[in-house]
């Protein structure tokens, strides 16, 4: 064991080192974190959201057996006294879906939360394994009405994040799912290409398959098909497939209903990060953060997996990334 002399006292490693998994960021900026958290809490509660404190431990089965797309190797787990695998909380959405599905609440439910999730990350890559999140889940308010409530809250919140350049990007899981239907047995290839926005790969994909001309034209555009409302309008005008068109019209209707239309862009090539997304998908970016600062979406497919026929939508703020972005922006201005 390495020992160092500090002020005449020998110190052992545990006295000054923290494990690499542990978070090191939220030390200097706690007051900023609490300030943002309180502002978000204010917005959530003004819209009727109830704050919930969720358990820190969940059965691994909860995350794996519903086929949501969680990776087993990201979980911190142990075997409990029942011989069952238990994981540290990996996400808030699934436990909250369980909470609502098992409640006898037949009405709209509004939950909000603040807390950490734990995910194993690669060592020595400048990443920690603790993520501080704050967010909401809106149960049983389907369609435009629910989407709009969430988007209006996001728009209201942006001024409290203290970041200069923010983009809120909207995508559609309906659009994506219809694309997969259209390419039939080439679903995995298309998903791979879209995830990488691979222009060369898409060219090859279109050449090697014999889709109809209109679809080919659309596919070739998808890797770079993100931008403002004009891009969305143009796509609605040119796309012939009614289901694809309807998915985009939903996005336009949402946009047109927004109280505040600033910061909004659209991505036609967005791939769902969670398998249960069914409609609107949301990503928020700051030019000072290499990862999204906000993410969420409509997941009408999740509550049915708990045998509850109800819709849901939610989003969350990635507080670590927001704080890091604020710090970086400060350094630039100094």
């Amino acid at each position: 064991m390495t020992r160092f002399l500090v002020g005449g006292h020998r110190m052992e490693e545990f006295q000054y080192l923290i494990p690499e998994e542990s978070i090191d960021a939220i030390i200097t900026n706690v007051s900023k974190l609490r300030e943002i958290e309180n502002n978000l809490r204010g917005i959530f509660s003004s819209h009727g959201y109830n704050e919930v404190l969720m358990p820190s431990f969940e059965y691994v089965d909860l995350y794996t057996k519903l086929d949501c797309g969680f990776e087993l190797d990201k979980m911190f787990q142990y075997i409990n006294h029942e011989g069952k695998n238990v994981a540290m909380r990996l996400d808030f959405t699934i436990p909250l879906a369980r909470l609502y599905a098992n409640s006898h609440n037949q009405d709209v439910a509004r939950y909000c939360y603040f807390g950490k999730v734990y995910r194993k990350e690669t060592m020595h890559k400048g990443r920690s394994s603790e993520f501080f999140q704050g967010g909401v889940e809106l149960m049983n308010l389907p369609g435009l009405q629910g989407d709009l409530e969430c988007m209006n809250m996001i728009q209201q919140s942006l001024k409290y994040l203290a970041l200069k350049n923010i983009l809120i990007e909207l995508g559609s899981a309906k659009f994506y799912n219809r694309l997969l239907e259209l390419v039939e047995d080439k679903k995995d290839d298309l998903t791979h290409i879209l995830r990488l926005r691979d222009i060369s790969g898409m060219k090859k994909f279109v050449e090697e398959n014999y889709f109809y001309d209109g679809l080919n034209q659309l596919l070739l555009k998808l890797p770079t098909a993100f931008g403002n409302i004009d891009l969305l309008e143009e796509a609605i005008d040119t796309i012939k497939d009614q289901e694809l068109k309807d998915a985009l019209i939903e996005l336009r209707d949402l946009y047109n209903s927004l109280e505040n239309k600033e910061h909004i862009i659209f991505d036609l090539g967005m791939v769902p990060t969670m398998k249960y997304y069914t409609g609107l998908m949301i990503k928020g970016y700051s030019d000072q953060s290499a990862s999204p600062i906000i993410s969420g979406g409509r997941y009408d497919d999740l509550l049915p997996r708990f045998n509850r026929q109800a819709s849901a939508i939610g989003f969350c703020y990635h507080m670590n990334h927001i704080l890091k972005a604020i710090e970086r922006e400060g350094e630039i201005n100094d």
């Binding site: 890559k125 983009l167 990007e169 926005r197 691979d198 890797p223 770079t224 970016y285 030019d287 290499a290």
Partner: protein, 208 residues
């Protein structure tokens, strides 16, 4: 301003040539001495690094664009980038290589495979439903079969001359490799026009 990281060495030379053909000013890079960071007239701020470091810089948003081989992308555990272009340069392939006897030998134990690209090797044998032991070697991987530490290797094959000189041959091809242009996903949102300017001009010179 676009920030770019280029893999040092052969990729650097080939990429600079391509960018030059695409009409960008590459003189300060071609004439560089030992500088690690160089700015060009086109508003590029360029750094040079080892392949894995190019990916790390991009992952952290330190650079917007990276030029790196598919071999590196296949082996790193980070995949949240946009891989916009296959530049069709630096072409070679991953292969399993060994002495010719490997083909017919009846292994009574797990095969031992040496590679610098352990993830690639692991994924490949897993996809063939074969359980093998993987031994990491950092360079001159051919030493695996030569010294007997492994039965075969998974490595990059370009001309195959090093293999041949040591009596080894390609047993199976694993996958194609070439140099790719990758982009940080968030940078792409904020700097689309600038990044697409580079992409479109490069597309014109690489053709097809």
């Amino acid at each position: 301003m676009i920030k770019i990281a280029i893999t040092k060495g052969r990729i650097e030379k080939q990429v600079c040539k391509l960018l030059q053909q695409a009409g960008f000013d590459m003189d300060p890079i071609i004439n560089k001495d030992r500088e690690l960071l160089i700015e060009t007239k086109d508003g590029f701020s360029v750094i040079f690094g080892k392949p894995n470091d190019v990916v790390t810089f991009l992952e952290h948003g330190i650079v917007d664009i990276g030029f790196v081989g598919k071999d590196t992308l296949d082996d790193v555990d980070f995949d949240d980038y946009d891989e916009l272009l296959d530049l069709n340069i630096g072409k070679c392939f991953f292969a399993v290589a060994a002495y010719p006897e490997y083909r017919t030998k009846d292994f009574k134990r797990r095969k031992k495979i040496a590679s610098k690209y352990t993830n690639v090797a692991k994924k490949y044998f897993a996809s063939k439903q074969e359980d093998v032991e993987i031994i990491k070697l950092e360079g001159s991987v051919e030493l695996g079969p030569v010294t007997g530490i492994s039965d075969a290797i998974v490595d990059i094959v370009e001309t195959g001359s090093t293999l041949k000189a040591n009596g080894l041959e390609v047993i199976e091809k694993v996958s194609d490799i070439s140099t790719r242009l990758i982009v940080n996903k968030v940078s792409f949102k904020f700097k689309k026009a600038e990044i697409m300017n580079v992409v479109n001009k490069l597309e014109n010179v690489i053709g097809g």
